[in-house]
Symmetry: C2
Subunit: 363 residues, 2 copies
């Protein structure tokens, strides 16, 4: 994606050949800044503090974290310690574990002196693969948008999305937003309702920032508003990302996704989830029982970052002084509420049979 006319990915290796640069997403939408990560600790911190976020980008960052750890110490013990440290940063997203497993497999059976180079090579592959996968997801999702546009005979297609599953959540393109970018670029008239996505406002900041930069018509709405818009026929489809999808199609995603899926069902609005297959956790079935849900700091509820009229970015308290708060960061949308899973190999019903049709090697 381009920012100020220059092409960016969200993560890249610096000219020194080993340290990693990322876009600091805690600074968006108020400032575009990048941040240098020079160790596995830096990578773990960047994930934990959400300098980087989004399931695919978390995986890519962890991969480079492992590279930097091996650069310090290429032993099995160091590899295991870095794996554990990076894996512990966020409990819900499965891509994190997937990326770390891919990296481990790429280096473990090699002599120590080859491990660093092998790790960097594999991390670069994972990033390129993420871009290609998302482009494929975009093409699959585009078909769905084209069908809706055809049915609406060219009148505006209204799409609701929750949180940010755009290129900022990935290495490039995005998952849920990739089809939207492609449809827009093909000249399909569309408009996006971007859920604000409290508490961290990734919709109002990151999604709106992305869509605005690309010129896609959109409006930020309170997380409360989607149901009302669907009741009044103002949403033609929902499309969201996911941090982990179970083998039977239950979808963990940013808190509040479940509420939108309920409203979509109640109003016959198709509800799609876009995901690279690395987000599927084939080891579990029941998302509600088996996916760990991260509980984040109450401070994300009681405080928010914003820009004053003078252009200063400040952290302000929103709630009554001393009010306790609770902050579960994800919820699980049962497969029965999901119209389809859009993967790099195609779109299928959210079910074991559906997924196995595309990924028969998992049967």
């Amino acid at each position: 994606m381009k920012i100020h006319g220059r092409h960016y990915r969200t993560i890249w290796v610096n000219d020194d050949g080993w340290s990693v640069q990322v876009i600091d997403q805690t600074k968006l939408p108020f400032a575009f800044e990048t941040k240098r990560l020079a160790s596995d600790d830096d990578a773990a911190d960047a994930i934990k503090t959400m300098v980087v976020r989004g399931a695919p980008l978390i995986g890519a960052t962890a991969a480079y974290g492992l590279c930097m750890a091996l650069r310090q110490d290429a032993s099995d013990e160091a590899l295991d310690a870095a794996y554990r440290k990076l894996h512990a940063t966020r409990p819900t997203a499965i891509n994190l574990k997937w990326a770390l497993d891919e990296m481990s497999a790429a280096v473990r059976n090699r002599p120590r002196q080859e491990r660093v180079a092998a790790a960097y090579a594999r991390a670069a592959e994972l990033c390129d693969q993420d871009v290609a996968t998302n482009e494929a997801i975009g093409r699959q999702g585009l078909k769905i948008i084209e069908e809706i546009a055809a049915r609406k005979k060219g009148s505006q297609v209204n799409i609701l999305t929750h949180c940010n599953a755009g290129w900022l959540a990935c290495v490039d393109w995005g998952t849920a937003l990739a089809p939207i970018y492609m449809a827009h670029d093909k000249g399909i008239k569309l408009h996006v309702w971007a859920d604000e996505t409290r508490p961290r406002n990734q919709g109002g900041s990151l999604t709106a920032y992305e869509l605005g930069a690309h010129g896609v018509p959109h409006a930020v709405i309170a997380d409360n508003a989607g149901g009302h818009l669907m009741q009044h026929g103002r949403v033609d489809m929902c499309i969201v990302g996911t941090d982990r999808t179970t083998a039977n199609g239950d979808v963990a995603n940013k808190i509040g996704t479940y509420l939108k899926a309920l409203a979509a069902k109640d109003n016959d609005v198709p509800f799609y989830v876009a995901l690279p297959s690395s987000t599927i956790d084939w080891t579990i079935e029941d998302g509600l029982k088996e996916i760990p849900i991260e509980e984040r700091s109450p401070r994300e509820i009681t405080h928010v970052m914003g820009r004053t009229a003078e252009g200063k970015v400040v952290d302000v308290e929103l709630t009554a002084p001393g009010s306790p708060a609770a902050n579960p960061a994800f919820d699980v949308t049962p497969a029965r509420l999901v119209t389809g899973l859009i993967t790099e190999r195609g779109t299928v019903p959210a079910s074991r049979q559906g997924l196995l049709k595309l990924f028969p090697e998992r049967a």
Copy 2:
């Protein structure tokens, strides 16, 4: 209700005998300030800018607005003009019209020189009536909480509420919160999940402020979180207020209420709506088609007021610069999702038959 040990209503006539004082709710939870209203214009502004809010309190403020207009000019023309001005302030809440109609009826057939005194007397009655009604609602709702507490054998009752339907929304007591205060005062162990209620955060500010001041255990949550909590058995009942309920039990309330009602239904959590009968619009049936939904300024989405670490209250921008926003302020929860309507006369199913059982005079 008491603040710093002193009993307050949300609105009262000043010692001058005619101007009106209200708690400035735009300043809460950061400061407790009151504001003097000295004309119908002041009253209309206070309603429009949400210095006062909450269906019952809007009605009370409009009633005194009419008193102050008549004090300037007691003619029929002035009465009609003030009625129209005050009625136009907020389109969704029906108590506003109800209170204005009550006031009109109390003065219209009197000689002009008696109108001002009659108006102030009627406004005071409406306020006292609101307090008595809410106390009765509290007693009705208390029974439901007691039943749940008995079923849970004394373990904590978890109640979710959306927006603020507490004493700050009324003259005193509150509608949805009245049963909670009574249950807490009776020693029932309970805990309230207060939905933040974006965009204006009346839950995170006003409800949390009220509950904290009264000592009721609570936690503020993102509007996105309620569904997840219900999925995991962490909500025993939902109780909300309403700005207008139709003759067949459809409920207009703060945007996002519908989403919580869907989640409650999906998880077999009882979903109650507490309302004075003045909130029932007997003239309409289909809430989705017939209740006008106020669209408020996009600035309520793109900006928020908060307190800096230095204690300064500032308005900050949250979204990507230039991002458009949409801001419908209410939604309609269909009667089929409502377990019961808690009124001053009792609790009944959300249906015409249910309501007519309590209000046979409307048959």
